[in-house]
């Protein structure tokens, strides 16, 4: 028991010299901590502990079996074997069938005396739908004729170009050079 009036506490100035507020705290806590136990507490607690069921035993073993631990173990093992074996027996007898992987289509039965379809199946045209015909505008013929007119124009331009080149070409360049003379090419 501590002789000092302070509660044993942590280091520091707060603990060493408690101000008035902390002195009140110490006094209250000490008072609560030192409250006397009610009379007859031990007897009541002891009687209550004895009256309560001991342990939480699910099975009450017969008296001769209590002293023999190996019999308990054997009995427990037998119970486990019976339960486990029974479960395994049911499982192995019932079994589980695997579900079919492919779906079998029902076979069509041909009515007697009629021709078969020879396996022909009508396929509805769902992907390629009807094509919408667009009305051509009035200016479209003019556009179509335009490239036709341009083509001859190009040809005539080429012809004109070749004709002018032939006429503007100097006469000496057209002739073959004489032997012994070197051809002078303009740089």
């Amino acid at each position: 028991m501590n002789s000092s009036s302070e509660i044993r506490s942590a280091n520091g100035p707060v603990a060493c010299s408690p101000p008035g507020a902390l002195a009140d705290l110490d006094a209250t806590l000490r008072l609560i901590a030192n409250l006397p136990a009610p009379a007859g507490l031990e007897d009541r607690v002891f009687a209550g502990a004895l009256a309560a069921p001991r342990g939480g035993r699910v099975l009450a073993w017969p008296q001769p079996m209590r002293t023999r631990n190996w019999m308990r173990s054997a009995a427990a093992a037998a119970i486990v074997l019976v339960v486990g074996g029974g479960g395994w027996g049911i499982y192995s007898h019932v079994g589980q069938r695997e579900p079919a992987h492919a779906v079998v289509m029902p076979q069509r039965l041909m009515p007697p005396g009629e021709f078969s379809t020879a396996g022909a199946i009508r396929t509805p045209q769902t992907l390629n739908g009807p094509i919408l015909q667009q009305q051509q505008p009035l200016a479209a013929p003019a556009l179509k004729t335009q490239p036709a007119q341009q083509k001859p124009a190009v040809k005539t331009a080429r012809r004109k170009a070749t004709a002018t080149s032939e006429t503007t070409q100097p006469a000496h360049t057209a002739k073959k050079p004489l032997p012994g003379h070197r051809a002078v090419t303009p740089r």
Binding site: L25, I32, L35, L41, A49
Partner: protein, 198 residues
């Protein structure tokens, strides 16, 4: 206690499984329990009361603690310090009960406290005034964070060292000291605030 029962108590945890008689074994257990109850019941009651602040609840907690001891009597041989072990059991029970009874109003009733407090020659009026004062201080204690409050409450027990408090709470001794320091600082502020409001 007789010499035979002393001998049984001393070797309670060493009672061999091959006890000659089941009745003798039961008797030995009862004697050992009686010795434990006689020695530690009042300490456990005070620890329980410091948290619950209700005599009936504290007694129930002590009862439950000894029932747990009976349930785990096979492992009691490994316990080094039975006092700390028992306080730890009752502490866990008490905290669990308090957690469950959170919806209930606090039991810091002034009249209840006045009934429990020792009179020490005080008049009824003085006793009521003292109870009111203690109730105010305890209300401030309740405002502390749980960790600090637990350490503060246990530190009030003179029979518990800081090492033992650490063992009860499952923390280190330095943690006990720091929490106690924080708790006392917080309490100083709370009590100052409460005084200024009066």
């Amino acid at each position: 206690m007789s010499s035979t029962s002393q001998a049984i108590y001393a070797g309670w945890m060493e009672i061999p499984n091959s006890a000659p008689n089941e009745r003798l074994r039961m008797r030995a257990e009862e004697d050992a329990l009686a010795a434990l109850v006689t020695e530690y019941a009042s300490t456990l009651y005070r620890v329980a009361f410091s948290v619950l602040r209700n005599p009936a609840d504290a007694e129930d907690a002590v009862q439950e603690a000894f029932l747990r001891v009976l349930r785990h009597r096979q492992t009691l041989a490994e316990v080094r310090d039975r006092r700390v072990w028992l306080i730890r059991i009752v502490w866990n029970i008490v905290l669990d009960r308090k957690r469950r009874a959170k919806t209930r109003p606090e039991t810091d009733d002034v009249a209840e406290l006045a009934r429990v407090l020792p009179s020490n020659g005080l008049s009824a009026e003085q006793l009521a005034s003292a109870a009111q004062h203690h109730a105010r201080v305890l209300a401030c204690v309740e405002q502390l964070p749980a960790k600090e409050r637990e350490v503060l409450l246990l530190s009030a027990f003179e029979e518990l060292s800081s090492v033992e408090i650490a063992s009860v709470l499952g923390i280190t001794e330095s943690a006990v000291r720091s929490r106690l320091f924080r708790a006392r600082n917080l309490m100083a502020d709370l009590l100052k605030h409460a005084r200024s409001q009066r």
